[in-house]
């Protein structure tokens, strides 16, 4: 059996960053397995701009951002195989992948999972009504439009106001479709404020809050949808129905980490719906690391790149036998916090740790407090917090060394 020190599953932003970091730290026997026909992952279809402000201090389109990393992969001569779909994984890190129907087996010393995320579909949200053509997820619509050049519809309703939905509202409008409205079940948008401005307000596209699709009608192709307001328990309010004739319903209703392979090896999963990891991004399965959107869904690619580097660094330490595993400190999401990554910190770490977290709902005037028992480790003021914006907190090494009890991260009103 062929053996490789470090196998990276997924050649998108996270996987490429992990590979480059591991190489930088002296790991030379690396292989990236990518299921698509080229490296870069989802950024290949994100042709809009706004990427790279943290990483490169300039505003790039998705393809421009990813090519900066592809160029480095080529310069560093890091091997990668495209059209390679991993079909099996075992706890002792034996990987089977299929390329054009031929199955290859390799054994790795360490694995970095960088498999990204997938879109929630009509079935996942129990979309009521007919199952006709013309109902499509936003990312798939984006692929058709931006990569393949197919228009997905002429009169479009968008369900969900996450960033992909907003970006697609603008993109479809520019290509000549009529985007009738964006409907959001929550009382607030899940997208960035700038995207509400430049994708909706710029083109006078209305955004309806606390309203969702209560009925889909279409014999073959979609003919109309009914939108209804919802109460605080997400039940439809009778009498608020609004019928809209349209041929396309674009769903932008959330992303879920892609973890099928981790399920094969019984890897424990946490509140992010991705693996639970320590500060080296190592999962509870020895030598298996995870980063990027398969760990938790990010809002900015620059942070995916940074997390990929962390995982690449962790994998390099693991291969060099430098991770001690002498006990760990748990990090618990407290009041109004939906999750914190990492969930564990190595007690003997000699590195600073960045905690990444999300809040449950929009709030103003809050302190983000990190506590160990009754001791306050850090307290950071935030003018406003929203679930769509990941919060980063830096914990310095001297603070970590003082901690013995588990850490809790919580919000505290001013």
């Amino acid at each position: 059996m062929k053996t490789v020190d470090l196998v990276i599953i997924g050649g998108g932003s996270a996987g490429m960053a992990a590979a480059l970091q591991a190489k930088k730290e002296g790991i030379s026997d690396i292989l990236i397995l990518e299921k698509d026909e080229c490296l870069g992952g989802i950024l290949n279809q994100c042709i809009h701009n706004g990427f790279g402000l943290t990483e490169f201090k300039e505003e790039l389109t998705g393809p421009e951002y990813l090519w900066r990393f592809v160029d480095q992969i080529h310069e560093e001569k890091i091997p990668y195989i495209c059209n390679a779909q991993v079909i099996d994984l075992s706890k002792d890190k034996i990987i089977k992948y299929s390329k054009y129907g031929l199955v290859e087996t390799i054994k790795a010393k360490a694995i970095v999972m960088a498999t990204g995320c997938y879109e929630r579909s009509a079935g996942a949200i129990q979309l009521p009504g007919d199952r006709c053509t013309g109902v499509i997820t936003a990312g798939l619509a984006q692929k058709y439009l931006n990569i393949k050049g197919y228009m997905v519809g002429k009169r479009v309703v968008i369900l969900g106001s996450g960033d992909i939905g907003l970006i697609m509202a603008r993109r479809l409008t520019l290509e000549g479709a009529k985007v009738i409205c964006v409907s959001e079940i929550m009382p607030y948008s899940a997208g960035l404020n700038r995207n509400i401005q430049q994708c909706l307000k710029d083109y006078d596209i209305p955004l309806y809050l606390s309203r969702t699709v209560s009925k889909v009608v279409g014999k073959n192709r979609l003919e109309k949808v009914t939108l209804s307001s919802v109460d605080e328990n997400m039940n439809f309010i009778p009498g608020t129905e609004m019928e809209i004739e349209c041929d396309t319903l674009v769903l932008s209703v959330g992303l879920v980490p892609y973890i099928s392979l981790l399920n094969y090896i019984g890897c424990p999963i946490g509140p992010t719906k991705g693996a639970i990891v320590n500060n080296y991004m190592e999962t509870k399965i020895d030598g298996v690391f995870a980063c990027g959107n398969c760990l938790h869904v990010h809002d900015v690619v620059d942070f995916v790149t940074e997390e990929g580097r962390n995982a690449g660094h962790g994998a390099a330490l693991y291969i060099k036998n430098l991770i001690k595993n002498d006990g760990e400190i748990s990090v618990i999401p407290g009041r109004e916090i939906s999750y914190v990554v990492p969930q564990f910190i190595d007690k003997k770490t000699n590195e600073n740790v960045t905690l990444k977290l999300r809040v449950r709902k929009p709030l103003k005037d809050q302190f983000v407090v990190v506590k160990s028992g009754d001791r306050i480790i850090s307290k950071t003021y935030k003018l406003g917090v929203v679930p769509s914006e990941m919060i980063l907190l830096n914990l310095s090494i001297d603070k970590i060394n003082e901690i013995n009890e588990e850490l809790t991260v919580e919000l505290e009103g001013k």
Partner: protein, 113 residues
């Protein structure tokens, strides 16, 4: 007085500009510049894709290398949609110079071998 969201970076500051062009709510100097532009000459960068003439079912992404006046966006799209280019393509390669006399070029944003 006018209120709008800054689109320069993902932070999305709520900007307020009064009739004397005093800007508040901005976290950085770029917000001030954006607010003044937004009421005098609003501009936007276009990102879209064009056909690759010598490949089947293939598009290549392009953008305006400068922001162009907002009211020219749809007119520019009509012109861009008629463009095509032969592969290989290189990031930064110019497809069309000075679109609609705006001074902005249409440039490639993706490498295709």
């Amino acid at each position: 007085m006018k209120e709008f969201t800054c689109i320069i970076c993902p932070r999305g500051c709520q900007l307020i500009i009064d009739k004397n062009n005093n800007v508040t709510g901005n976290a950085c100097p770029r917000g001030k510049e954006y607010a003044i532009n937004e009421i005098t000459n609003p501009t936007r960068t276009i990102t879209t894709s064009i056909r690759v003439s010598n490949r089947i079912d293939t598009l290549v992404s392009v953008k305006t290398n400068l922001a162009i006046p907002k009211n020219l966006v749809f007119e520019a799209m009509e012109i861009i949609n008629k463009l095509s280019i032969g592969a290989p393509t290189k990031i930064g390669q110019i497809v069309l110079k000075n679109i609609l006399d705006t001074g902005a070029d249409i440039i490639i944003t993706k490498n295709i071998d």
